[in-house]
């Protein structure tokens, strides 16, 4: 199997791997339950609702110690507001 790592290694041209990155990030994962507990979801949702986070990229942020996507933070916020 050719892994992404091996692929990158064999073609270090950024022109080649940038579109690959774009594909990976385009299809956003919005299920957060595989890495966050209910308590963490609520805490992140609350922090996000209160603007207590910092962007590290246009669609990624650091919040409550987690590095997650904007879409994931939105999911947490939604769940937090629903539970509030």
């Amino acid at each position: 199997m050719i892994t992404r790592r091996m692929f990158m290694r064999s073609c270090s041209l950024s022109a080649v791997f940038l579109p690959v990155l774009a594909c990976v990030t385009e299809d956003k994962e919005t299920d957060v339950t595989w890495f966050l507990s209910e308590t963490e979801i609520t805490a992140i949702g609350k922090a996000y609702a209160q603007n207590s986070f910092s962007f590290i990229d246009k669609d990624m942020l650091v919040i409550s110690g987690w590095v997650i996507t904007l879409a994931e933070a939105e999911v947490c916020k939604k769940k937090y507001l629903e539970s509030a």
Binding site: T3, M6, M8, I56, G65
Partner: protein, 511 residues
């Protein structure tokens, strides 16, 4: 040949081609390189062939900076030196470590990675690791279940570590050195005095003493100090009869730039899918290699981050690291602690952990400390039993270390998302650099930089050949010569550097 200064009655004077001071990783590696050189070599060792409390107490000293391990518990003072309880982690310095990096003040070695790497095969032999490639992919090709995390290698890659058995240099090389007719090992011979000629440019002789009062004088063509980074600086500073500031210290650099490898538990990685993590699984004395996540050179440069690697342990199996604050402070208790720990671990069977069962991994980082002139060794007014001023260690970290930890976590978190491998969480202190270091911050017991290498005497104590600026026959072997620390455990690299110095000395001495 072996002679014990403690049992030699008359005032002893010897002349030789080369006098090596200190029989640890560096000193023994150099001496072994001279076994068949047909030259007269003296190897002075402060201790005997076994640990003894009184000699170990000569390693006492005081910490006044960043909280650190008690000094007598960080080095061993007998034949074999600190290798008599080192952990055996081996990986070389990286090419970037030798570069002058604009974001790392005082960086840039006067030698290239290639010049250094030429001596890695011989150094590997000394620590009994294989001499195969350091390229992980080539190394693990065909090995079942050794699967690196599928990250973008221009951001994060998996770095190969090999494990020495660990070689106890005092045990492994004693026989060959003692049997040699050209090498004389003097035990219980503590270097005390270094005497320069009238002009202060050449070492004329050195003196060694045993704790029971015996003395010897050695007159050699060349001298190599190989006593470890704290002791090398201490002995240069303390010998201040001819040069007021100490030997090689015209520019107030000896003892400065002390570096460690800060080691601390940081974030956790949550894998999206189970995979074998056998490659990263540490099983002391049972594994010959493993891998740590490492930040790629391009990413270090692009983000101004110091070199860092991170060991990954299944979160469920990783302890709280509080033991780091409970380590014995006394030299003997510490020695016993490590010997006991190794016995216990070696007696246990290899782990049968199935890493595929774990999705959460705790990161334990080992990082480069940036060179900092204020992080330093100075002399105390307190003296040891031989009348030598004790060292004071003022270990000082800078903002760059904290910023690097923050940025390497941000970057890894991002990369885990982009590569669809997982997510990262880290404690508050990682992202908020205004907070204190956590109480569990430790070091690797690695002492570096106190006689740093630079071609400009105003910026370094030794030149590119590890010779003290202005004193042509006085050389230094060991990690005190490191200009920057890298993130690699230092012993393999310091041996490579020592063997490079050895080659240079052969050219000088056989001329």
């Amino acid at each position: 040949m072996h002679k014990d200064l403690a049992t030699l009655t008359n005032q002893h004077t010897v002349t030789c081609d080369l006098c090596i001071v200190g029989a640890g990783a560096a000193g023994i590696s150099m001496a072994m390189d001279w076994l068949d050189a047909g030259k007269n070599v003296v190897l002075l060792e402060a201790g005997g062939f076994e640990f003894d409390v009184e000699t170990q107490s000569l390693n006492n000293g005081t910490n006044i900076g960043q909280r650190y391990y008690a000094l007598p518990a960080t080095r061993l003072r007998f034949f074999g030196g600190t290798t008599m309880h080192w952990g055996g982690y081996c990986t070389p310095l990286d090419p970037i470590d030798f570069e002058a990096r604009p974001y790392v003040l005082h960086s840039g070695w006067p030698i290239s990675f290639t010049e250094f790497a030429a001596f890695l095969p011989a150094a590997s032999k000394m620590v009994e690791i294989d001499n195969e490639t350091w390229d992980l992919d080539t190394y693990i090709a065909g090995k079942e279940n050794y699967t690196p995390l599928d990250l973008n290698p221009s951001v994060y890659y998996s770095k190969l570590f090999k494990f020495s058995p660990p070689t106890r240099f005092g045990t492994k090389y004693r026989k060959a050195l003692v049997a040699s007719t050209s090498i004389t090992v003097y035990t219980h011979a503590n270097l005390t005095d270094i005497t320069l000629d009238e002009e202060g440019k050449v070492v004329e002789k050195v003196q060694a003493k045993s704790l029971n009062g015996n003395k010897m004088t050695i007159s050699a063509n060349h001298y190599v100090l190989a006593m470890g980074a704290i002791q090398n600086a201490r002995m240069l500073l303390v010998n201040n009869k001819q040069h007021k500031q100490g030997i090689g210290n015209h520019n107030d650099l000896v003892g400065r730039y002390f570096m460690e490898h800060p080691e601390v538990k940081t974030g956790q990685i949550f894998l999206k899918r189970p995979q074998s993590m056998k490659l990263y699984f540490f099983d002391y004395t049972k594994i010959k290699m493993y891998s740590e996540l490492a930040i790629a050179e391009a990413a270090q440069r692009a983000h101004g981050i110091l070199n860092v690697t991170a060991a990954l342990h299944p979160k469920k199996l990783s302890g709280d690291w509080a033991w780091i604050n409970k380590l014995p402070e006394d030299g003997k208790e510490s020695y016993d602690f490590w010997v006991q720990a190794e016995k216990q671990i070696s007696a246990s069977p290899p782990s049968d952990v199935d890493t595929k069962k774990y999705l959460a991994y705790q990161m334990q980082i080992r990082m480069e400390q940036s060179p900092n002139p204020n992080s330093r060794i100075t002399l105390d007014s307190k003296k040891d039993k031989l009348g030598i001023a004790e060292p004071i260690l003022n270990w000082q970290l800078t903002e760059l270390e904290r910023n690097s930890i923050k940025d390497m976590h941000t970057l890894l978190g991002k990369e885990l998302i982009q590569s669809d491998v997982g997510r990262l969480h880290a404690p508050e202190w990682v992202f908020d650099t205004s907070l204190e270091w956590p109480a569990t911050l430790g070091g690797g017991w690695h002492h570096l930089g106190t006689t740093r290498m630079h071609n400009d005497p105003k910026k370094g104590v030794v030149d590119a050949n590890c010779t003290i600026h202005g004193i042509n026959n006085l050389h230094v072997a060991g990690s005190s010569c490191f200009t920057t620390a890298g993130a690699a455990n230092p012993t393999l690299s310091l041996i490579a550097l020592t063997l490079r110095l050895s080659k240079h000395l052969k050219q000088l001495i056989t001329k």
